[in-house]
């Protein structure tokens, strides 16, 4: 059985902790342990930071977070915004380095999202919706 919950917040950095807390509670309900809950919260934090910084670029806007909880199975996270489409493929992929001089700061957030979640899917300008990011984590 799937339980669905939604949180709608202004696209502001001071909402990140609230968004993370909301998704963290859902992850615990699915059955994830502390380490995975932290990774799931991180993925949502990074995704929402990108929406605030790159999609809305500091302009007023709304982030709609939906969680679909399948107990002892998986968590689906859907983030919707109406900002400028932010295509992560245009950001150079982050590659962990062994030298401080080689590290490129860009792409860290997307890298963390992909590391933390099993599936990450971006859709842009979906009719009647806007930009939609779907992330799935299996237990």
């Amino acid at each position: 059985m799937t339980s669905t919950r939604q949180l709608v917040v202004p696209a502001q950095h001071d909402q990140l902790a609230r968004l993370a807390s909301f998704v963290g509670a859902a992850a615990i309900e699915v059955g994830f342990g502390d380490a995975q809950v932290n990774r799931i919260e991180l993925a949502v934090d990074e995704a929402c930071s990108n929406i605030i910084d790159h999609a809305y670029r500091g302009a007023p806007g709304v982030i709609r977070l939906t969680v679909e909880i399948e107990s002892q199975r998986q968590l689906t996270i859907i983030l919707v915004d109406q900002g400028t489409p932010f295509d992560p493929d245009r950001v150079p992929a982050y590659a962990p380095c062994t030298s401080l001089d080689e590290v490129k700061i860009g792409g860290l957030g997307i890298h963390l999202m992909r590391q933390a979640m099993d599936d990450v899917c971006f859709e842009f300008n979906v009719p009647g919706i806007g930009n939609r990011l779907t992330m799935i984590k299996h237990l």
Binding site: D14, A17, N38, D45, E46, L108, G109, A116
Partner: protein
């Protein structure tokens, strides 16, 4: 729910044997709370202040950091670059398992000097130029 972050700025003076040079104090940043995009400027300002006062080595005690995102990682990376340009280093200590996991995910545990405890970091910092 609003994220909070506190940075307590301390210093310690390393005890060095058999040296006639006066030892300079080394800054310690005791960070507690959530290190994300909404709070990271607090740590950034504290680090800039320490560098502007001439610090080369800085110890960042992460023992009470409950969470770190890429915003926090960027500040740590920038600070380490600044410290290395001055011939010093940033020493991280007392990472929680979740914070260490995030550093591991981006390969930072191989790039940073990381100590298990604050005492270990102080000992290591004693071998670095302070100011």
């Amino acid at each position: 729910m609003i994220a909070t972050l506190n940075v307590r700025e301390l210093t310690f003076t390393p005890v060095m044997e058999q040296t006639d040079k006066a030892q300079k104090p080394i800054p310690i940043m005791q960070v507690s709370g959530r290190l994300d995009a909404s709070t990271v400027s607090i740590l950034e300002r504290a680090l800039l202040r320490a560098f502007s006062l001439g610090a080369k080595a800085i110890v960042i005690d992460m023992g009470e950091v409950t969470y770190i995102s890429s915003s926090g990682l960027r500040v740590l990376l920038t600070a380490r670059r600044q410290a290395r340009e001055r011939g010093g280093d940033i020493l991280l200590c007392a990472l929680s398992p979740n914070v260490r996991d995030v550093l591991d995910m981006v390969g930072f545990t191989a790039l940073f000097s990381i100590c298990s405890t604050l005492d270990d970091a102080k000992q290591m910092a004693g071998h670095l130029p302070a100011t």
